[in-house]
């Protein structure tokens, strides 16, 4: 399964990239993030948010081929 990953704000800086495409066996954003943390200096998932195809989703959402998965730090607008 191939997914596109987007990182925002401090996660983008930690990842060293805003986007990447990955072939993965991860079934959920949680599994995917764990896999990414093995390769990149990303923080633990506590407090982070995830979106799949531009909608907020929980960490155990079932991923599908071609999904766009975004990992975000706690929001800080205003």
């Amino acid at each position: 399964m191939r997914v596109r990953i987007d990182y925002f704000a401090v996660l983008r800086e930690r990842a060293g990239t805003a986007h990447e495409t990955l072939d993965t066996g991860a079934a959920t954003p949680r599994e995917l993030y764990r896999e990414l943390r093995e390769r990149r200096p990303l923080p633990p998932e506590t407090g982070l948010k995830v979106a799949v195809n531009d909608e907020f989703r929980h960490w155990d959402w079932a991923l599908a081929d071609g999904d766009r998965v975004a990992f975000m730090p706690p929001v800080a607008g205003g």
Partner: protein, 142 residues
């Protein structure tokens, strides 16, 4: 155009206020969040905002719809900046129109509070000295 917008350009507050005009609304409340020159004891020289635009626009639109439903506001708008902002620049603008003032104040308050909690926008502070820092950044790994 959506009532919740992300803008890379300066917010035209007069135009936003004009967009709130509604003959049935006796009250119009606007809130402007501006860049201040200090935060948590540190001097701040400028701010940088980044957003996840697709999700920010959809979540922002949900917040505005909730404000209209909960408070009976007739018209509710919000614009949030991205990019580099100087001290005093408007970072966010919220406007709410309703038949009476209580509903307009409540709707505007609800929008700014929910936007700050829910809409995927991040700010990074720049200081006179030292590296810039993301606000609410995820904790570093020990």
């Amino acid at each position: 155009m959506s009532d919740f917008r992300i803008s890379a350009d300066a917010i035209d507050q007069a135009a936003e206020l004009a967009a709130l005009e509604d003959a049935a609304s006796g009250a119009a409340v606007c809130f402007c969040g501006r860049v201040r020159n200090h935060n948590e004891g540190r001097v701040v020289v400028r701010l940088e905002y980044e957003c996840y635009e697709e999700l920010a626009v959809s979540e922002g639109a949900r917040v505005l719809a909730e404000a209209r439903e909960r408070f009976g506001a007739s018209r509710v708008l919000c614009v949030h900046r991205t990019g580099d902002l100087a001290i005093g620049d408007a970072a966010v603008w919220v406007g709410a129109a309703a038949a009476h003032r209580n509903e307009a104040f409540a709707a505007a308050r609800y929008v700014i509070d929910e936007v700050k909690k829910r809409v995927p926008i991040w700010k990074r502070e720049h200081y006179p000295e030292g590296p810039a820092e993301w606000i609410n950044a995820a904790p570093s790994e020990a």
